[in-house]
C-alpha cells in the first residue's frame, strides 16, 4: 500500500472516538483520505462508493453493528461482486475472549484491538502495511 494512495474508512458510532482516530491517522499520514461512517449501514455505502484500503471497525453500534458489515462484505466477495480485499482492524470494547477470537477469524479482519485503543499498536500495524 502506497502512502499517497491510502484511503481509510472509520466506522464508529461515537463522534469523539471518530475524531481521535481521524486526528491520529492524519498525523501519521498527512496525505491520506479519511472517510467516516457512524454505523455499518453508512459504512457499507461508503465502502462500495469509495473502496477504502484500510477500515477501522467498531463492532457494537446502534442501528447496524460491525458484524453485519463483515457479513455483507464476505457475501460480496463470495459472490464475486467485490474484488479487492481491504484490511480491516476491529477496534472494540468487547471483553469476552471467545467473542474476540471469533471476530479475529472473520473475513478480511487483520487485527482485533481492544478499546481503549493503544495508538502505538495501530501505528505498528499500519507501518507494516504502508510503503
Amino acid at each position: 500500500m502506497k502512502k499517497n494512495m491510502l484511503r481509510f474508512l472509520i466506522i464508529e458510532d461515537d463522534e469523539m472516538i471518530r475524531i481521535i482516530h481521524k486526528e491520529f491517522l492524519e498525523e501519521l499520514f498527512p496525505e491520506c483520505e479519511i472517510l467516516e461512517a457512524e454505523n455499518a449501514a453508512q459504512g457499507i455505502c461508503l465502502y462500495f462508493e469509495c473502496r477504502p484500503n484500510v477500515i477501522l471497525l467498531d463492532m457494537m453500534m446502534p442501528l447496524m453493528g460491525g458484524e453485519s458489515f463483515l457479513d455483507i462484505l464476505e457475501e460480496g466477495y463470495s459472490k464475486n461482486i467485490l474484488k479487492d480485499k481491504p484490511k480491516i482492524v476491529v477496534i472494540t470494547a468487547i471483553k469476552d475472549v471467545k467473542e474476540l477470537m471469533s471476530i479475529g477469524k472473520r473475513f478480511a479482519v487483520e487485527a482485533v484491538i481492544s478499546k481503549p485503543l493503544v495508538q502505538s499498536q495501530l501505528k505498528a500495524l499500519l507501518d507494516d502495511w504502508v510503503e
Binding site: M16, I19, L117
Partner: protein, 129 residues
C-alpha cells in the same frame, strides 16, 4: 429500598474521574483538541442519560446494552475511568436484564456525570461547557 448487596458510589471512588495525562496523550497533547473532544463527550453523556432514562422505563435491554457499551468505550478512551467502570457495570446489568441493579447503577452514573463535569470545569477553566 436499595438492596444491601448493590454497589454504591464508594465502590467506584478509587477510579480517577479523569486521568488528565491519559486524556492529553490520547490527543497528542493538543489542548484545543482535548477541549473539543471533552465537549463532545460531555454532550454525548447528557444525551445518553436521557436515552437510558427512557430505555429503562420501557425495559429496552438491547438498547441499554449498546448504549452502556458505547459509554464504557468512550469513557475509557478519554481516561474517564470512573464513568467507564460504572458503564461497564451497567452493561453487565443490561446483559442480565436486571432492572433493579441497572436502575441503582444509573443513579450512581448520574452522580458520576456531575462529578466529571465539575472536575473538568475545575481543571480546564476555559473549557466552555
Amino acid at each position: 429500598m436499595d438492596d444491601v448487596n448493590f454497589p454504591n458510589i464508594d465502590n467506584f471512588d478509587s477510579a480517577q474521574i479523569l486521568d488528565m495525562n491519559k486524556a492529553l496523550k490520547r490527543v497528542s497533547y493538543k489542548k484545543e483538541l482535548l477541549n473539543r473532544v471533552l465537549n463532545i463527550f460531555r454532550n454525548n453523556l447528557l444525551e445518553k442519560q436521557k436515552i437510558i432514562e427512557s430505555g429503562l422505563k420501557n425495559k429496552k435491554w438491547q438498547d441499554l446494552r449498546v448504549i452502556s457499551h458505547g459509554i464504557k468505550g468512550s469513557s475509557w478512551t478519554i481516561g474517564a475511568q470512573q464513568l467507564g467502570n460504572v458503564a461497564f457495570s451497567l452493561e453487565k446489568a443490561a446483559d442480565n436484564e436486571d432492572y433493579q441493579l441497572y436502575n441503582h447503577l444509573f443513579q450512581i452514573f448520574k452522580i458520576c456525570i456531575e462529578s466529571f463535569i465539575e472536575f473538568v470545569e475545575m481543571k480546564i477553566p476555559d473549557i466552555n461547557f
